[in-house]
Amino acid sequence: MNAIELEPSPALQEEEPGNYLSESHTVASWLLTTDHKRIGILYLYSILFFFIIASFAAATMRLELLNPQGSLVLSETYNKLFTIHGVLMVWFFLIPSIPAVLGNFTIPMMIGARDVAFPRLNLLSWYIFIGGGLFALYSIVSGGVDTGWTFYTPFSSTYSNTHVIAMAAGVFVAGFSTIITGLNFMVTIHKMRAPGLTWFRLPLFIWSLYSTSLIMVLATPVLAITLALLSLERFWGIGIFDPKLGGDPVLFQHLFWFYSHPAVYIMILPGMGVISEIIPCFARKRIFGYYFVAFSSVAIAVLGFLVWGHHMFVSSQSVYAGLIFSLLSFIVSVPSAIKVFNWTATLYKGSISFETPMLYAFGFIGLFTIGGLTGLFLASLGADVHLHDTYFVIAHFHYIMVGGMVMAFMGGLHYWWPKITGRMYPEFMGKIAALVTFIGFNLTFFPQFLLGYLGMPRRYHTYPPEFQIFHILSTAGASILGVGYLLPLIYFIYSLRYGKKAGPNPWRATGLEWQTSSPPPKDNFLRTPVVKRAPYDYSPFEEEHPQNV
């Protein structure tokens, strides 16, 4: 237990009069807040908004793909739909999802601080995010963009007739929000830890968010300048990506993937962190191999910068560069494997219960394992030539990003929901939703592996009829998945009013964030905690000896 010196005072169990939510109810108190908890909630609403738009785009695409002739929407529309889906999901949902919502909310509490290091910058980062979002929305409303989220040149710079610059500007601006968030987290984790909270007493969620921040800070600026160059190229024709003017379109891919491959790890590392919190708590076991799980996060963050060329095996990149990138890609799979093995080993001789967060954690391990293993197919040069840019790739990264990150986000949201709102969500409905999500997800994306191996290229609006059966399965799965996401939305809102009071620590978890009331007071702790022990000090025997708590 991150044992703190003061025993949880009995007063905490009672109705807390002052918490960060009840402190003030005016709109200005939200829009001008510098409280990391409120900013986390602002982010939650914002990304939910973008998630809904992007999901509608996905739903329309899935419906459209029900028949091979593509009769529901025009091909222009279809191309815009997958671009909207990709851009919004990647930059306006996944990247801020766990870091900016759950990270913002929990990091200061988990390290025993009153707030992040730069609260005003934190608020600024949300406003910048909204600014970027407005650019993106403007681009969508004024006609959309049809380049795909990858913005490949020379299509995006010269040939597309859509609002590429507005969308690029949106991503550019949102990028700075990511950079500021990452910077803030890094400084906070370095400088704001409570007395006694050494690096190896930090929860693994903090380790994973630290690694994520490292990527945010070092990769995002390259995306920003690349998109700036793309916009200049489109506006003025500077020619750096244009073969006709002496440039090279593949240079864009290098710059883009230098950011976007590490960004894939922005979209999974925080999820791994959440799982590392949930599993010990619901298995009542100290995490197995703490150092390995912690350092594997850092290893993934650093090695993740060295593998971007595996997106370019058939791009006319040199075969020798392909060799290097393939080798490094295989190496980066090892730290992920280490994490999965350690989570499994943590369950050994635990006392496992299956509340909703734990169900999502199990779902995460299953789906992430499949996503990770199929990544090996794509890292393998000979197999990637066939699989590249097919539905196999789509299925693979959805297993990581939706099966991994979104499952973890849902798990984390359920896990910290009592802390955020002070209320419990309805447990039974939670379990149903987790199950429905898992089934729907697999039905949606597993057929896409088969489609991909058969040769169905991605971003196809129409397709040869022999692929139809898999598309029908996939669309059926997507409708189930949709229900799986809709349910929590309903019961979370329901729980705000009717959920039962959570108390400070409904999961009997050991993290510092559970040592304060729910919802926490504005400054998180009434007195700065002092940490004396390693994290995850759980015992499977608590059931029999409750006095040990």
Binding site: L218, V222, H254, F258, F305, W308, S318, Y320
Partner: protein, 104 residues
């Protein structure tokens, strides 16, 4: 951090200006492919001087020293891996039927 003597700062600045003169002068001497290497070398020395003494990296914590190097290190990753592609593009010449046949 102890404030450094003003004299010391002036000396560093003088060294920087001398190095500037060196780069400038050397650019007018044809050293073949060495021109670029030397110019970059001198620039790196200048940057290191500024960072160590003007920016006090020499007197900062290990963490700051690490962060100060990180950005440049990551830039090096970008440049070296991307150029590894461009530099090795021609290594497999497109094998021509007529060329390889004459090899046999």
């Amino acid at each position: 951090m102890i404030p450094l003597p003003t004299q010391f700062y002036i000396k560093i600045c003088a060294a920087l200006l001398a190095l500037l003169a060196l780069t400038w002068g050397l650019a007018y001497i044809d050293l073949g492919s060495w021109n670029l290497g030397i110019a970059m070398g001198v620039s790196i020395v200048k940057a290191v001087l500024i960072m160590l003494f003007f920016m006090h990296v020499r007197y900062s914590s290990r963490l700051i020293q690490l962060v100060a190097c990180a950005g440049f290190f990551w830039l090096l990753i970008l440049l070296s891996l991307a150029m590894s592609d461009y530099r090795s593009r021609g290594w497999i010449p497109t094998r021509r039927p007529d060329l390889t046949q004459s090899d046999r």
